[in-house]
Symmetry: C2
Subunit: 346 residues, 2 copies
């Protein structure tokens, strides 16, 4: 991989080279004609021509997977964290209306296992390919004494592009606008420190436990569910210029993230009308956690929000539903500054 | 910081917000008119207009600081690792002829200390400002159970730009060309696992020890010396189109990195004519490490290599010296495939 530099670890060069060998084909399948470099060069090269975009603006974001990685190391299942990371990053720049261009990853561990590193990168490459994003660089660092055996920290950086006049920044949001939620696929990549504490430490479950609430799935299955990518679902709304604000519901939940895009003088009433998925209520019940606190840590089933004009709500619903977005009404913009929930707390 | 999202940690939000507050002014001082976002948005926005570059190519690289971070946590001195990271990344894309545009960072720890995180980011911001690079995003992740108290992992991603016809990739290197070395400022960010093992575990030194070989400096001073940035030194050679190949000497040393840019059929003879700095010979002596092995782990005093035509060698020397590059002759390109050292091993 361009820039992937096992030598910096100074440790097990042979294992590093074995990992690169295994990653090569999956990484190269993410390339397109704009990628001018191959694995092993110092930097990844990506041609900066943006046909059809008169005033291109690059949108960049760095993120990690958090302690969801502990669930991966507990179970030895590293196949999904790569997609978690890529999808999280794609969603983060989608908030400003950007299409992904390229991605770079960082994997750190105490002792490198070529199979594990390759599995993680293959997961990233697969998710990149799905959204037309090239995986042009990465670094795998072996840092003895920094990480417990089996622990891998994984972070990534995405760069995308948006036409300057099409940037979505929420500044045009006004009271009366409607908030449409899109189903999440689970916890995504947030709240895992609390979830693990409740499920494993407090309730004494194991990754293989099958609590009735999960309908036959194991705890590990539920916790490792891949962070959903909202790019395809939201693109039609962007193309019609109907998104007044977009919000990726990461750590901090709906209240913590929605406030990041609301202009001064605007608040929101959230109607938690959608069915909160059972994994959330299981954590809530087993941990004795108040709904109010749950909402500030977890996405509660709403992984992405789209703020639209009241009179385009029906059209946006159709666009989102037809693109497989699984939309539901999630509330309204109001005058004021806070984020409130309608109805009584359960 | 754009995209800096303490909420993803789900842990100490107040401490995270305190850290952001402290970072703000230093981060904003890296901004320029091409930066369209401010701290706190989901992605960092950077206008993709490249005046004077007809066919712009983005060059991106991700890297970490490795176990140099252990020296920072041993001593509580976190002020320099940020510059280490930025300069490492700047040098990596300089290899292909790129000027830096923007940078994003990732900081992970077990328990966030706002002062430490802010100190690390201030170091990055300062190094970014020096080379005209905007710090447009970052993520600070608090991951309980992943990191020992005081340990911080730090990684970063840089994106720069180069005109397509000016990309330096070493493909035009031919036998007879000359290799010019540029002084390193110390170990840079490579070989710290071995250096710590030798100095601390084997020789029983402490960070405060002042071995005579270091001329009064402490071991910590020597180990924390900031990774040098070669951008200003090399730019004049790039502007005159005289660089046939460029090489950042990271982990793997001169042999491991030079081979990354040599075309098939080319090898090199390295004349280690420059004075190897005392920190390297101290590690060599205390560890009883063969020079051959030292050269494959450490930069040995040559942090960056410039391959030039024989008849432009004198001109390049002048350009590099006048720009403060501290150049020395480092060898020649030969026919063949290997990297050899001239003269006897010391």
């Amino acid at each position: 991989m361009s820039g992937r530099d096992y030598r910096s670890s100074g440790v097990d060069i042979a294992e590093g080279e074995a990992a690169v060998e295994r990653m090569k084909s999956s990484v190269r399948r993410t390339y397109n004609p704009r990628v001018l470099s191959d694995l092993g060069s110092f930097g990844g090269l990506f041609r900066a021509d943006f046909p059809g975009i008169p005033r291109p603006v690059l949108v960049a974001s760095t993120d990690g997977v958090g302690t969801k990685l502990k669930v991966a190391s507990m179970t030895g299942r590293y196949g999904t964290v790569g997609a978690d990371l890529v999808n999280h990053c794609v969603n983060d720049i989608l908030v400003q209306g950007a299409e992904p261009l390229f991605f770079l990853d960082y994997i750190a561990c105490g002792r490198l296992d070529a199979g594990v590193a390759a599995t993680i990168v293959e997961g990233m490459a697969s998710a990149c390919r799905t959204c037309g994003c090239a995986l042009i660089g990465g670094e795998t660092a072996e840092m003895p004494g920094f990480y417990a055996p089996g622990d891998y920290d994984v972070a990534g950086t995405i760069v995308g592009v948006v036409e300057e006049s099409s940037i979505v920044d929420g500044s045009g949001i006004t009271p009366g606008m409607r908030i449409i939620g899109l189903e999440s696929s689970g916890l995504h990549t947030n709240g895992y420190s609390l979830a693990r504490k409740v499920l494993f430490d407090l309730a004494g479950l194991t990754p293989d436990s099958r609590p009735g609430a999960l309908g036959g799935a194991t705890v590990a299955d539920a916790l490792l569910e891949v962070h959903r990518c909202y790019l395809d679902a939201v693109r039609p709304v962007l193309e019609e210029g109907l998104a007044r604000g977009l919000c990726h519901v990461t750590g901090g939940g709906v209240p913590g993230n929605l406030k990041r895009i609301l202009p001064r003088g605007c608040g929101a009433v959230i109607e938690e009308s959608w069915p909160v998925p059972p994994l959330f209520t299981l954590i809530e019940d087993l941990g004795g956690i108040a709904r109010r606190e749950m909402r500030r840590v977890f996405n509660m089933g709403a992984g992405f929000l789209v703020v639209v004009d009241e009179d385009s709500e029906a059209r946006c619903f159709d666009l989102l539903a037809n693109a497989g977005g699984r939309p539901f009404p999630a509330g309204s913009i109001i005058a004021g500054g806070g984020i409130e929930y309608s109805g009584k707390e359960p």
